[in-house]
Symmetry: C2
Amino acid sequence: MKSHLLTYSDFTEEEIAQVLYHFEEKRFKKKDFIIRTGQIDRYQYFISHGCVRGYIVDYNGKEHNIAFRFEEFWFGDMESFTNNTKAHYNYQALEDLTVLAISKTNWDKISNEIPAFVEYSRNLFRNAMISQQNRIAKHLMQTAEQRYEQLITEHPHVLQRISLKNIASYLGVTPEFISILRKKVAKK
Amino acid sequence: MKSHLLTYSDFTEEEIAQVLYHFEEKRFKKKDFIIRTGQIDRYQYFISHGCVRGYIVDYNGKEHNIAFRFEEFWFGDMESFTNNTKAHYNYQALEDLTVLAISKTNWDKISNEIPAFVEYSRNLFRNAMISQQNRIAKHLMQTAEQRYEQLITEHPHVLQRISLKNIASYLGVTPEFISILRKKVAKK
DNA sequence: GTAATTTCTTGAACTACTTCAAGAGTATTG
DNA sequence: CAATACTCTTGAAGTAGTTCAAGAAATTAC
């Protein structure tokens, strides 16, 4: 966490200590829910160990993965957290999970006291915004086959930890179609 | 612009004057390019009048609209602007356009001098991140027909100003298919 | 104000992807 | 370690959306 803070803004040792003081460690078991649709998300979570998926459920009850998050990444339903509204997304542990959690109260407190933290979070949001934008562009430009190939070449470690069913949902296709793609790609 | 600053953070009158001082007004004609793929985007743009589309070109030379921006909104290739790298996206005026432009140099200067500006931009990025996330979710959940219907009910003004061809590209379908959808929706 | 260009529509043939059903393989649980 | 429950695969039939070609309608340009 400390090194993560320093890569996105300049903190003094004292500021770092002050920031870290406002986090609490939490643990979850595989398959536990950290955030559920309809509830208010009062924390942001920084993963120290494990991984999670974020997903949304459509009117037919079908689940759609919008994100996977691994060690050294943040997750949370930012809209719910910011506006105290009901969360649109669910976040579920895909492995046993250890996180550093920060409450909204502490988040706001640190934001007021430590300008470097505002800059840190600005940089995080900017990067997130950029990568979401790029993801949208890829969805518009590429077929499912291209998205799958790009995923396995650019993020091969993801396949070690995430089931094909979950990958399929993230890519926006059915598990059956991922099977077909796998056969195709294997032939090349 | 002034009222926009105030809705996203607390500025003193003096700070507002200081921020505004670092913008320059620029004008473009309909169809002009403000940002082109491959060039470095050295400005961020706040629209005072007109609208633009952001798009990316795929390997087949096909264009894909990733965004439309109207009055009182920002645009720019944030990745290029931040890292001084080549822009992935093109931004083109869809109408005669007047913008307030801020250079990277001035952006960084204001960020160092005015904490409220860092908070302002953090809030912008956060909102952008949230709406991109929601857009991805909609793409995963909805058919093109549902996305089209939602667009015309939630943003009917968009249809007054944007051609169907450009809407089609934004929704991720062909213009021909938008025609089909329009007939379907008209029947209801 | 007419020519030139672009946008929108229509229809027929095609492709990427889904749905459903069923079986094999792999984890998880008591 | 047997029972249960997921995950992954296969195939056949179906659907959402594409491609291509061509014409009508609307905009732009000289």
